[in-house]
Symmetry: C2
Subunit: 168 residues, 2 copies
């Protein structure tokens, strides 16, 4: 998008960026779920995949409300984050270390999304698009909840297991 002359233009650019990002994530999450060895982590990734599909539907509702074409814009930063998660799975880590590294990669993805939906929500409110802002707030909360869940899982179980496994 070459010309951005209004907040609506900035909003649409950000919307297309996260639409592309979420679609990439739906390809990566099933692989991350298969690669995880902790049952809880597998479930967390599977649950987030279902959630991500719902988030994509919300984004499509937003495109409809704006009467804008549903298409993504390639985002190199997010591609880098998803690629990082893929590379981790090919490093030959022990199952316990792999779980810890997968959570670290997934939390970077979540934080990218938290920043992006936070901006989209704030832009929607500034533009007076209240229905759109409400949809985005739902997704923003889901991303924050997913990040918090991954954090708890890392601290309460996965990191300890990774530490103990490498010492044994």
């Amino acid at each position: 998008m070459a010309n951005k002359s209004s907040m609506n233009d900035l909003f649409l650019h950000e919307l297309r960026d996260i639409y592309h990002a979420e679609k990439q994530l739906t390809k990566a999450l099933p692989k991350m779920a298969r690669a995880a060895s902790s049952d809880e982590l597998k479930q967390a990734f599977q649950m987030h995949l279902e959630q991500t599909q719902g988030q994509i539907e919300r984004l499509e509702q937003v495109f409809d409300q704006l009467d804008a074409a549903k298409r993504g814009t390639r985002c190199e930063a997010m591609e880098g984050l998803v690629e990082e998660a893929r590379e981790i799975m090919e490093e030959g880590l022990s199952p316990e270390l792999l779980d810890a590294a997968l959570i670290a990669a997934a939390q970077k993805v979540e934080h990218y999304e938290i920043a992006s939906y936070g901006t989209l929500h704030a832009f929607a409110e500034a533009c007076g698009m209240n229905d759109v802002a409400k949809l985005l707030a739902e997704t923003l909360q889901e991303e924050k909840d997913t990040d918090a869940k991954l954090n708890d899982l890392a601290i309460s179980k996965v990191n300890k297991r990774a530490m103990e496994s490498a010492q044994s």
Copy 2:
């Protein structure tokens, strides 16, 4: 780092990633401060530059405590985020829209750092490196505070100004 066989290896990899990221950021922030037109945003970027220099010193203390060489590892995701901020400055946006777009880009960078320092802090605790964990917790809090400050600035002033300027 090809072989990662312990939590310490994962920690060091993440440490080198964020060390490289912070160094890139010290080059981008002065440009972002110059590009911003809101005085408060300029000040926020300048203050975060000083903070980032202190955070790099903390990372160097961590390298020393681990007796590890102080060197960064190139991280494509963070390079993409910093590059995005640079591109925004060349898009010919109006000053008001540029401020809104710069905050959006800066919050993505902050969230990358929040995820990274969160992981480093959790890894340090799992490894029983209490002094290191304490240093990282200080930086983590600074990154969260910076993100919250940018968020407040966007919502209370910058986005409204951007919206009004494009309508006038």
